[in-house]
């Protein structure tokens, strides 16, 4: 706790540094037989090197853009898909159909957060933004 405050103060007053590793995420989802349950895949690549981000620790949460912070679903962890480096699978249990912003949090090998907005329908999921 003692080191947190000086670190925060330094962060508040110092300028931006760039060149940290960044992730690019491509998400595809498909409806399952269960209502409002979707199986999704996220393909993670390093934005700079374009290489697949293998061995990553990935957590995905979903937020409804019309009510940010309040209308969300619990984060789920995404598991690596065997034989496809940089691809992770997860199952989403949504509360209603419509636009959801998926927040893809990467913890390892670097920290990043990528947001992708998708339209979840009964038979189709379309990427929006």
């Amino acid at each position: 706790m003692r080191w947190m405050l000086p670190a925060l103060l330094a962060a508040l007053i110092s300028g931006t540094t760039h060149a940290a590793d960044r992730a690019e995420a491509e998400v595809t989802c498909l409806p399952t037989r269960d209502k409002l349950v979707y199986d999704c895949l996220v393909r993670l690549t390093n934005l700079q090197s374009k290489a697949a981000v293998a061995g990553a620790e990935v957590m995905v949460s979903a937020d409804m853009p019309s009510m940010p912070m309040a209308h969300n679903v619990r984060p789920v962890s995404a598991a690596p898909i065997r034989g496809e480096p940089g691809v992770y699978g997860f199952r989403l249990h949504l509360e209603m159909q419509g636009e959801w912003a998926l927040k893809i949090g990467v913890n390892k090998p670097f920290r990043d957060l990528v947001v992708r907005v998708l339209e979840f329908g009964p038979t189709l999921v379309q990427p929006k933004r």
């Binding site: 925060l8 912070m69 920290r111």
Partner: protein, 296 residues
């Protein structure tokens, strides 16, 4: 602390700023359905500050708060002279107008081979200050909590001051307050500026926690919720809106097993409370009673 809990507490802290901004306006008797606009202005301005202009986070948050305060003053100046529900209607119209302006705003620059900045309806990506600085979620929560605690302390001092009593007089009866020598218009303008700044500060924090913002986030739902938090928690103290946010988010999080139906909880809670306690849980009467018990 569990990462999800850190996220929930950070959300509570960030929403509390916009709830407090609506509360400040309620104190002077004005209902605003448009505080989401100032949350959005703060988010965009602070995001541009760090992501586009390379400013330090503290300065970017301050710019966001100032931009939102100016926005709120621009709305309050022509509407506070009117009586009735004009301000409430104008705030809603202003918020929708602002959302459309954000949908049309494009201001992107290249950073590390990628375009960053507002890109109209596509949103504003790449507000990555906290990731580039290696600020952990728990540290960011600490920052939000510290800023919120400072705000609450400032409001506690304000409410106990002479100016605080003037605010409540203006909120109770403008005519009587004016007859007592209070400059009602200026008092309300001061509160509008403070309310705008608080919403803007919350927006700036949100933009950095989320890394991505878009105009749709600043929709009327956020405005209605921010107003409702004060009505749930109570208008007797600045802790009221915070209690309202905590109750709502706490209830929503603890009732996840009810899926979409849990959203009904919020509407039901507001309806029941408005009948049972029209000025919220921590209303003036309860606070006076608690103060009397404390003095004994």
């Amino acid at each position: 602390m569990e990462p999800h809990l850190v996220g929930v507490l950070t959300n509570i802290g960030m929403i509390a700023f916009v709830a407090l901004s609506a509360y400040l306006l309620l104190l002077v008797g004005e209902i605003s359905f448009g505080q989401q606009a100032f949350f959005g202005i703060g988010a965009y301005a602070a995001g541009i500050g760090t992501a586009v202009l390379d400013l330090p986070l503290g300065l970017a948050l301050a710019i966001g708060a100032i931009a939102a305060a100016i926005g709120q003053l621009a709305l309050a100046l022509p509407t506070f002279r009117l009586r009735g529900l004009y301000f409430a209607m104008a705030s809603l119209a202003f918020a929708e107008m602002m959302r459309i302006v954000l949908e049309l705003t494009q201001f992107q620059v290249e950073r590390d081979g990628e375009l960053v900045g507002p890109n109209g309806a596509e949103g504003f990506r790449g507000i990555r200050y906290i990731f580039e600085r290696g600020i952990e979620p728990a540290e960011f929560l600490l920052l939000v909590a510290a800023l919120l605690a400072a705000t609450l302390a400032l409001l506690a001092v304000l409410e106990r001051s002479r100016f605080g009593r003037r605010l409540r007089m203006v909120g109770e009866d403008e005519l009587l307050a004016a007859l007592s020598g209070i400059d009602v218009f200026r008092t309300k303008l001061a509160m509008a500026a403070a309310a705008g700044a608080l919403a803007g500060l919350g927006g700036g924090l949100y933009a950095h926690a989320s890394t991505y913002i878009e105009p749709r986030l600043f929709d009327v739902m956020l405005g209605v919720h921010s107003l409702a938090y004060g009505l749930i928690g109570g208008l007797g103290t600045a802790l009221g809106p915070l209690l309202g946010v905590g109750l709502d988010i706490g209830l929503l999080e603890s009732t996840q097993m009810f899926a979409g139906y849990r959203m009904i909880v919020f509407g039901g809670l507001v309806a029941v409370l408005l009948i049972w306690r029209p000025r919220g849980l921590l209303d003036e009467r309860l606070l006076h009673r608690l103060a009397r018990i404390g003095r004994r």
